[in-house]
């Protein structure tokens, strides 16, 4: 299957969308890409404290899939799903503060990058142990089922995470319990430096879902509206009691694992080939060719995003870093960590 070549013009706007919402999807694509570009600048100024993880070339898959959810649904992103969190209402300033380890970041400087959550808005922060969010999200979806709430969970994993035991256990549990969960496997070709061919012996990661009796399909991850439509079908099925669906979104990681990574293992030709299938450019072409947006609409959104990010960066930069002693609170609900073991800190010279 050849994925991601050329823009496909649908004859009509996919179900659930309007022209206004199509433009909003563009806004989130541009917001995701531009926010990451701002982060790169801050990273180069050493204002981003830890690693920086890009989703360049994968924004379409994050935004298109998250856009298929309703308010009340909960998703759990992976490191390259910034776009999905923005769709769910995470603020760029929050993401900036996280990366910059500010005291007023969503986790008060305790966690990094996009590891944060807002269950009311509908996103649950990941941890770095790949695959773990699959059983956790299966439990969230189980809670929806137990309360007979018409809500859906969505969890993102990468091609690498499909090799973990937690992925297997979570998929199987979700399938047996028939919980309303959509699993998106972003097949971007690499887990750090490891190509998919060294990760798994199957050609299509959708086959993994079939092994659990879960309806599974493969979609062009760089075609925003195809991702949206495929996810929407899966979300509708889950909401109607049809249980989980696995979607393999075929895409490509155009940057390294993190900003420091030289990408020595990716050929320049391969990267260039995928540049020509850029999901954002394809989406803009599609909007304009279909008459759903004018160049002026696009320019206006670009300007709005730039303006919002100017403000967000300024706001994030002015915040302070957390005081050291704030590190002790909140390990438990009902007790603070005893400062006693650090008795030596209170000794006189």
């Amino acid at each position: 299957m050849k994925m991601g070549a050329g823009a496909t013009v649908p004859v009509q706007i996919p179900g659930g969308l309007t022209e206004g919402r199509l433009l909003e999807i563009y806004y989130y694509l541009q917001l995701t890409r531009s926010l990451e570009e701002r982060l790169v600048n801050l990273y180069r100024q050493s204002k981003v404290i830890g690693g920086l993880y890009r989703s360049l070339g994968q924004e379409g898959e994050s935004v298109g899939s998250a856009y298929a959810l309703e308010f009340g649904d909960i998703l759990s992103p992976l490191i390259r799903n910034l776009g999905s969190m923005l769709v769910k209402g995470a603020k760029p300033v929050e993401v900036l503060r996280q990366y910059m380890a500010k005291a007023n970041s969503p986790t008060a400087g305790r966690e990094m990058n996009i590891h944060f959550n807002d269950l009311d808005l509908g996103y649950l922060g990941q941890i770095s142990h790949l695959g773990d969010m699959v059983p956790v999200m299966a439990g969230i979806a189980l809670s929806f089922k137990m309360r007979s709430e018409p809500r859906v969970g969505l969890v993102y994993v990468g091609d690498g995470a499909t090799s973990t035991g937690a992925f297997h256990e979570g998929m199987n549990f979700a399938a047996v319990q028939k919980v309303p969960l959509v699993i998106i496997v972003e097949h971007n070709g690499y887990a750090y430096s490891t190509p998919t061919s060294k990760q798994t012996a199957v050609a299509r990661l959708a086959d993994k879902g079939r092994a659990y009796g879960v309806p599974s399909e493969t979609v062009d991850g760089n075609h925003v509206l195809a991702v949206y439509a495929t996810t929407k079908n899966a979300v509708d099925r889950a909401r109607n009691g049809g249980g989980p669906t696995l979607i393999e979104a075929v895409t490509y990681r155009r940057k390294g694992h993190a900003e420091h990574d030289s990408q020595s293992y990716q050929s320049p030709d391969e990267i260039r080939e995928w540049e020509s299938r850029d999901p954002v450019e394809r989406y803009v072409d599609l909007l304009q060719m279909s008459g759903w947006a004018t160049p002026a609409d696009i320019t206006e959104i670009d300007a709005r995003v730039a303006n919002e990010l100017d403000q967000a960066v300024a706001e994030a930069e002015e915040a302070s870093t957390p005081a050291g002693a704030t590190a002790l609170g909140g390990v438990y609900a009902d007790r603070t960590v005893d400062g006693g073991p650090l008795w030596f800190r209170s000794l006189d010279g």
Binding site: N117, I127, P135, I140, M146, V176, G330
Partner: protein
């Protein structure tokens, strides 16, 4: 009221919490229609239905992970490990995801992971473990180890009502061997409080779970044969630890022996020793000593298992050494 066993007390505690709070549910392997490998959840499936007593695949990581997700959403899941030995399969989810959730993300994760622990039952290397120390080291988890029927019930209730994740180590040797009249009380044993089970002035023995009974037996023998007054503390909770109870007893008796079933190196006794060193060094008249299992996996043959695990005679010998110091 009649006397009930440790297992029946645990069962009652679970049943009463299922009744009083519809956010409580149970999930695990064979816990539903079959009623659990040890019949702890016997009858629950008929009484509370398959939505609240959930049979799962053999997937400890998924059991604990799903419990965590449901707990975030306001449920109070109780996840059964068929034997606590298998909790190691969920080690990643428990230590990386569950234990850190409140700290890193402000997430409430009120779940209980419980299961039959411990040896003296000829269960071999994989059905006899007491893996308390593996979790003792992880901030964010609470650990309880009931020794009595009253606490089997009181601590499961406290664990379910607690807003943080609790690992509940129930001792399978005690399941049907001890009985107590609980007067049907809805008593909750507070987490973090030790109990002075026997008073004395000459030596403190700190213990918990099944070996607590051996410590108590040794104390009786030492009083009968040596006229020694042994104070026996049932620690009941390992995290958070009741330092105050240990320290005030040590200040009274000036001698401390720690007895635990888990292996020695990196065991909880080492931490208790350090805490007493920090908080009551000047009151000690003798070195702190510990009686623990040998540092081996737990073998199957009765002669081997008995050799590896602490026995009453070991406690008596160690106590006499301390009393004579």
């Amino acid at each position: 009221m009649a006397e009930i066993t440790y297992l029946e007390a645990l069962r009652q505690g679970l049943e009463e919490e299922l009744e009083r709070d519809d956010r409580v549910f149970i999930l695990g392997e064979d816990v539903g229609e079959y009623g659990g490998a040890f019949k702890v959840t016997d009858g629950f499936h008929e009484r509370f239905g398959p939505d609240r007593i959930i049979d799962t695949p053999i997937s400890e990581a998924a059991i604990v992970g799903a419990a965590a997700g449901a707990a975030h959403m306001g449920f109070r899941p109780v996840a059964e490990m068929q034997f606590i030995d298998f909790i190691s399969c969920a080690y990643d989810i428990l230590t990386n995801y569950v234990a850190t959730a409140r700290y890193r993300a402000g997430l409430s994760t009120p779940l209980v992971v419980r299961g039959p622990a411990g040896g003296y039952v000829r269960g071999g290397p994989f059905h006899s473990q007491m893996p308390e120390a593996a979790f003792f080291h992880t901030p964010g988890l609470k650990l309880v180890c009931p020794a009595t029927a009253r606490d089997a019930k009181g601590l499961i209730k406290a664990a379910i009502r607690d807003d943080d994740p609790v690992i509940y180590f129930e001792h399978k040797y005690l399941y049907r061997r001890i009985k107590e009249d609980l007067n049907g009380a809805d008593d909750v044993t507070p987490i973090g409080k030790a109990r002075v089970a026997r008073e004395g002035n000459d030596l403190t023995i700190v213990s918990w779970s099944a070996v607590f009974w051996k410590a108590l037996e040794a104390a009786g023998e030492l009083e009968d044969e040596d006229g020694a007054g042994i104070e026996v503390l049932d620690l009941r909770t390992l995290v958070p630890m009741d330092d105050q109870a240990i320290v005030s007893s040590v200040k009274k008796t000036n001698r401390l022996l720690i007895v635990h079933e888990d292996t020695r190196t990196g065991g909880v006794a080492g931490e208790i020793t350090a805490r007493v060193n920090e908080q009551a060094f000047e009151w000690l008249d003798a070195p702190i000593r510990r009686v623990t299992a040998h540092d081996t996996p737990l073998p199957y043959a009765p002669t081997l298992e008995d050799y590896v695990l602490p026995q009453t005679a070991d406690i008596v010998t160690a106590a006499r050494w301390l009393l004579a110091y």
